[in-house]
């Protein structure tokens, strides 16, 4: 058994809603995390019934064997495997033995990073905070001292010490880290001063569980393959580490996760350059990645593609050249298999955009033949608008940005993205010209 490192957390979190990763994919991810400088893989998928809904039920032997394999793979790869149990849906005082038993099983496998999460359960005040904090404290007390502990409170996205949170941390042993997603459930901005102050007031390390690149719930129409979001370069030093919350695509999540982990280690570097360097390491991915680089704070299309779109309306062919090059050449098979629906959506654009441009141009040069230009462009747009998957910018998504009034958490309208994709821009401008409403 290798010695447990008590250094800062630096890795990824499997904590999204939806079907957990396949075992083989998870093992591959653990091996991969070590290759990009990560050292943590935290297992907490919301829809693993034994992790959350039926947390008291012991994992069956085959699941425990898989977890043993994970721990073993982590030891080879230099990656700590963290296991989190989420008892918050129906926690009752007196449940402590069941919680300890569940966690001890992981400890017995060799896991030395353990966590208890109360995220996404009904909120409460100080009384609930004390109950939850006592649950964590009981587990910490019952297991040997060589465990790196973390806890996720109900109020995990906050800019303040709520009554719940104050009571929660008061009940916790001092060396239990707190999972924290920033001032919001998904945080477009994480001020360093706020982080430092909150950590001081809570008396413990905050582990920044960044909800990037996850895309579940009402973000699911967008695939986050882009650069790590703009964060303050001083943020890594202000917290106890980073855990990136992965999305439901275990292979494709590697690109944005690698970009994030690399930047976190070298926060003075340009995050886009880091992303481009990581992207260069995946042959054949560039075309799709440029189409899927948008996120909450940068919802528009790839700037260069957008510039080519405007130019294309006046005859420039770079946009068509981009589409003509395709999106599959050289792409590794496992990437192509996982990204197939997105590749198909990209290829639909590669078919549709030239059609719309051709309709415009044949009208511009007076050689129109076939369906009318405005109808064609409107049809292309109509079909694009109805597509489930959004590429080349975000047309609509709702990111879980939250704010607090007093202790009460509520959705922040800043999380609603209504923007224009490349197709929207193209079709709107083309239709404006075709119908005479734009010069």
């Amino acid at each position: 058994m290798t010695a447990v490192s008590m250094t800062a957390w630096h890795g990824v979190l499997e904590g999204f809603y939806g079907e957990p990763y396949a075992d083989a994919a998870r093992l591959d991810l653990v091996r991969w995390v070590g290759t990009v400088g990560g050292r943590d893989y935290v297992y907490a998928p919301k829809d693993d019934p034994y992790q959350r809904a039926q947390w008291r039920t012991p994992y069956p032997p085959d699941r425990m064997q898989h977890f043993a394999d994970l721990v073993a793979a982590g030891q080879v790869a230099g990656v700590r495997i963290g296991f989190v149990v989420s008892p918050g849906l129906d926690w009752q005082p007196g449940d402590e033995p069941a919680l300890v038993a569940k966690l001890r099983a992981f400890y017995d496998l060799g896991a030395r990073c353990l966590g208890i999460a109360f995220d996404d359960v009904p909120p409460g005040g100080a009384d609930l905070g004390t109950v939850h904090g006592n649950a964590v404290a009981a587990a910490v007390a019952a297991l040997p001292g060589d465990v790196l502990w973390a806890a996720c409170p109900v109020d995990y996205g906050t800019d303040r010490v709520t009554a719940y949170l104050g009571a929660f941390v008061a009940a916790l042993p001092a060396d239990v880290d707190l999972f924290w997603t920033g001032p919001s459930v998904l945080s477009p901005d994480v001020p360093v001063a706020l982080t430092t102050d909150l950590s001081r007031r809570l008396g413990r390390r905050l582990v920044f569980a960044d909800n990037f690149p996850v895309s579940d719930g009402p973000m699911a129409g967008v695939l986050h393959l882009g650069p790590y979001p703009q964060r303050d370069p001083d943020l890594p030093a202000a917290v106890g580490g980073l855990l990136l919350n992965l999305g439901p695509t275990p292979v494709a999540s590697r690109l944005p996760a690698a970009a994030g982990l690399r930047w976190w280690s070298e926060p003075q570097r340009d995050r886009t350059e880091i992303w481009e360097a990581e992207l260069a390491g995946v042959p054949g991915l560039a075309s799709l990645a440029r189409a899927c680089r948008s996120w909450l704070t940068e919802p528009g299309p790839d700037p260069e593609l957008l510039a080519w779109t405007h130019a294309a309306l006046d005859g420039d062919t770079r946009l068509e050249d981009y589409f003509a090059a395709g999106c599959r050449d050289g792409l590794p098979a496992e990437w192509a298999a996982e990204l197939e629906p997105w590749l198909q959506a990209w290829e639909w654009h590669a078919m549709a955009v030239p059609i719309a441009l051709a309709a415009l141009r044949s009208w511009q040069d007076g050689t129109a033949d076939g369906p009318g230009g405005a109808f064609t462009v409107a049809e292309v747009w109509r079909r694009g608008l109805a597509m489930e998957r959004q590429l080349f910018g975000i047309r609509w998504a709702f990111y879980p940005v939250t704010a607090r009034t007093g202790d009460a958490e509520h959705a922040d309208p800043a999380g609603l993205v209504r923007g224009d994709t490349l197709l929207d821009t193209l079709c709107r401008e083309a239709l404006g010209r075709l119908t005479g409403e734009r010069p």
């Binding site: 076939g370 009318g372 405005a374 109808f375 109509r382 608008l385 489930e388 047309r395 609509w396 209504r418």
Partner: protein, 369 residues
Amino acid sequence: MSGLRAGAAVADITPTQPVRLAGFMARQPTVPPLVVADPLQVRVLALQDGDTTGLLAVFDLVGMSAAFAGPVRLAIATATGVPVERVMTSCTHTHSGPDTLLGMDLYAGYVELLTLRAVEAAQTAVAALRPVSVGAAEVAVPLDLAVNRRGFPHEPRLQVVDLLAGTERVATVVGVGIHPVTHGPDVHVITADWVGHCRVAVEAALGGTALVVAGALGDVNPPGGDGYDRSGGGAALACSVGTAVAGLATTAAKQTKDVGTGLALSHRTVELPVAQAELSRLVSGGADAVVTELFTWSVGDLLLRSLPGEALSGFAAALPRPGTTVDVGLAPVWQGYLPHPDLMGGGYEDELGLGADAMSRLLVALGAA
């Protein structure tokens, strides 16, 4: 050749196999045996002035989503050489025909039948083009014939557009907003409803080809508690409503005034946001925005204006009505009910549509103050 010319034609679009009947949310989702009370038709009016040609194709259907209307318009355009932006589709909104909104339980081959017959009618209408003069008139519709089912005060009107080649009538366009729902959800027969009876009566009285276009019918029913005969006597009610509307139309036809000359066909698009509600997303096909085509056709003082759904009377009342204005509802596609955003909150019609923001934007695009 300058000067206005017109032609009209009719083709049968009656399903030849059993289909689920579309229109009533309360109807059982079954596919009843095929019983045809009277045929469903597509009626095409061709208008031409010099190099400008427009085709209005009115279908005895509950409505067509873009997935149905688009290919039909393309086929007509390809077959006739008329630009697709000048091919306007509309539906009479019969609730006793196949589902051309979502395509539920539509047998393989019906879309082809629909398309081929529409093309056939369009080609025939174009081939029949001849010089015409155009007159128009508008009369009030009795409130006991056009019942506002939401209890809103309204002033229903009926427009007649008369296209005459000398003394011979080429076509009569009747614009009126009354839901074709006389048979109700429990009678499973194919029928054009009162619209079919109306056309027969108008043609018997006036000659030529009659087209009935759906005006602001979103909240307007025929007489009866729900606009249909609960005793199953829908056919009699359809006949009586159709005959009454035809009577108004023939009366109006005697009062028409020449609208002048000069055919102008305008085609625009407008982006409409879609509300988050589930029914709004059903209407939009899942999209959070839609692109809607707007047609505005004029002949002298006459205006034919497309409305992309079932306009409620409050919505239509907010629109400018220069000269004689005929609202062509459900054109070129059905995008749900079109309520006035300031008059929402009173019924399911407000939910089964794109939402208040879209309606505000649509009103502006249509020239409402």
